[in-house]
């Protein structure tokens, strides 16, 4: 379990190391199986008739049917929650990126008193429990007649999305070298010019990473969406799935089909942008 791959020195040590490597490989394989199996099983089940789901489950799909997916987009109207989630998560992300970029630029590049307290404050807000503001937000949205509307979700979403955006973006912009901007300042460029002409183009990858992270957090959010919507017209994907009900029994086939559909876009984003997401998540979070 060393963190560096130590090279075998001499023949005597070799046996011990290959034994260690074997244990290591086995443990890692088990972990990967543990990670992937629930997905595999959900896919199999989403293709299996409900009647066969809990009767002698077999690890391999027996007879594949697409009925659950058909029902999901037919009578279930799963398109509506997907649309709701896209609108809410998309709007929140775009707004947070616009406002957050200005703040992140100032926090990463300008030198002024109060920067450290601001960062501390923002970090503190990302950590505080959502449940602690559900009651006033509910009363506020109710008095503004915004319960069960898009703005009634987008506004509460800012509470976690805005600090997250500013925090990740600041960490990410700090890692962009300053040289070009400083050279531009020497040549007489204004702050506005060095920001729009030099930093912004360089920061496009940072903005993309931050946007993806914020979007994922909004897409996955459950408590606010559950508290501030009333019916299927405005429910987001997680709420719709969690509240799936059948006429006589739990419609597991459809639930799992919905789970696969809700997971697919996020999983795809993670697989494609894996490296960037890891950087964004850990930038600024851990110092050596």
């Amino acid at each position: 379990m060393t963190s560096v791959a130590s090279k075998p020195r001499g023949k005597k040590r070799k046996a011990g190391i290959s034994w260690g490597a074997w244990v290591f490989g086995a443990a890692l394989t088990l972990l990967i199986l543990f990670t992937l199996f629930p997905f595999y099983w959900a896919i199999v089940a989403s293709l299996t008739p409900d009647a066969a789901l809990f009767r002698d489950p077999s690890l391999w799909p027996q007879h594949i049917i697409l009925d659950h997916y058909r029902a999901l987009f037919g009578e279930r109207d799963f398109i509506t929650p997907i649309k709701n989630s896209l609108i809410v998560a998309g709007t929140t992300t775009i707004f947070c990126l616009c406002v957050g970029t200005l703040a992140a630029y100032a926090l990463a590049r300008l030198d002024f008193k109060g920067k450290a307290p601001i960062m501390g404050f923002i970090l503190a807000v990302t950590m505080f429990p959502q449940i602690s503001i559900v009651s006033p937000l509910y009363l506020l949205l109710r008095s503004l007649h915004l319960i069960d509307t898009y703005p009634g979700l987008i506004m509460p979403y800012m509470t976690f999305a805005m600090p997250l955006t500013v925090w990740v973006l600041t960490g990410s912009i700090r890692q962009i070298p300053k040289d070009l901007e400083e050279a531009a300042h020497v040549d007489g460029a204004t702050r506005r010019q060095s920001f729009t002409k030099i930093l912004l183009p360089l920061a496009v990858p940072s903005l993309a990473t931050t946007g993806i992270l914020t979007f994922i957090y909004c897409w996955n959010e459950f408590l606010f969406a559950l508290s501030f919507t009333l019916g299927p017209e405005r429910q987001t994907v997680p709420v719709a799935i969690a509240l799936f009900r059948g006429m006589y029994q739990v419609p597991w086939g459809e639930i799992l089909a919905a789970a696969i559909v809700a997971t697919a876009p996020v999983a795809a984003m993670v697989l494609i942008f894996q490296r960037r997401i890891v950087q964004g998540l850990t930038a600024g979070a851990v110092k050596g």
Partner: protein
């Protein structure tokens, strides 16, 4: 003189740029927090509007003190947090050490473990609920096959067994995040330390105990903070997996508060519960930051 004016200008620009983001946060996060405190000092039953909203002082907090369901919920939350975080740190450390070394398929491992972290918690909870659902579910089938269980059991009917899928689901979903934070810490450790130790004939175990773990301490503490605070606000996972049941025996504080607010529409009492949760979270964060001297990256070094 010119330098001072330049700094003054920079400060003004800085605050102007930070202003919009800060006011959004203040308006929708901090102001409501104050409102919660105000609500918590009043009797406010949305079901009984004729009662009005009289000021009751600390009556709601006194009621919390005597409310066995709250203390139960607090105990469940603490239990859940301690057990799941311990497992996540152990497995996460192993994963981080694994991902930190070069082997074939490392990219695949990194991507694979990240997927559970990225999917909605609700979905994760449903996947695990499904596997443990009914006597004919896959968990029962597999466990009977490998002779861990003699016969299938109904997992969600008893408290002890209902915790199993809850903890497993949380470990499954969150360990990747833990591993990533620890991996970032590992990558900051100077490799020459290991080389020097190897020259002195130190074995892998010695290196882990005397180099890796001490130097990884800051990363471990940061992870502990993040995960403890996450654990204390657990909601989605248990709402979907057990609904707090059987009875209220797995109900965490966030779920109890949600029920008080939006099921029973007791806004005064629910707000008081919210304030208590906030205070506990805040206290825990303070203990970590002040007591253990965790430094969170805020400034450039």
């Amino acid at each position: 003189m010119r330098k001072i004016s330049r700094l003054g200008h920079e400060a003004r620009l800085g605050w102007t740029l930070v202003g919009p983001a800060l006011s959004v946060i203040a308006l929708i996060a901090i102001f409501p927090l104050g409102w919660t405190v105000w609500e918590s000092l009043h009797l406010h039953e949305l079901r009984m509007p004729w009662l009005g909203q009289p000021f009751v002082g600390l009556a709601n907090y006194v009621e919390i003190g005597k409310d066995p369901r709250f203390w139960g919920a607090l105990a469940h939350t603490a239990f859940f947090t301690v057990v799941s975080i311990s497992l996540e740190l152990l497995i996460g450390l192993f994963l981080a050490l694994a991902m930190n070394r070069a082997f074939r398929g490392r990219g695949f491992v990194r991507a694979a473990v990240l997927v559970p972290w990225a999917i909605p918690t609700v979905v994760a909870a449903l996947l695990w609920r499904f596997m443990f659902e009914s006597e004919g579910g896959i968990a029962n089938a597999l466990l009977v096959d490998v002779h861990i269980l003699k016969q299938p059991i109904v997992w969600f009917i008893e408290t002890a067994t209902a915790w199993v899928p809850v903890i497993l689901a949380d470990v499954w979903k969150t360990t990747p995040f833990v591993a990533l934070l620890l991996l970032a810490g590992l990558q900051n450790i100077d490799l020459s330390l290991y080389e020097a130790a190897a020259v002195d004939g130190a074995n892998a175990w010695w290196q882990l105990r005397h180099i890796t773990l001490p130097l990884l301490k800051p990363a471990i503490l940061v992870t502990l903070i993040f995960r403890t605070l996450d654990g204390f606000r657990v909601f989605d996972l248990i709402y979907v997996l057990t609904g707090g049941g059987p009875g209220t025996s797995t109900e965490p504080v966030a779920l109890y508060t949600f029920n008080a607010l939006l099921q029973n529409l007791r806004f005064g009492y629910g707000s008081a519960l919210s304030v208590v949760i906030f205070a506990i979270t805040f206290g825990l964060a303070m203990i970590y930051v002040k007591g253990l001297g965790v430094r969170l990256g805020g400034d450039e070094t």
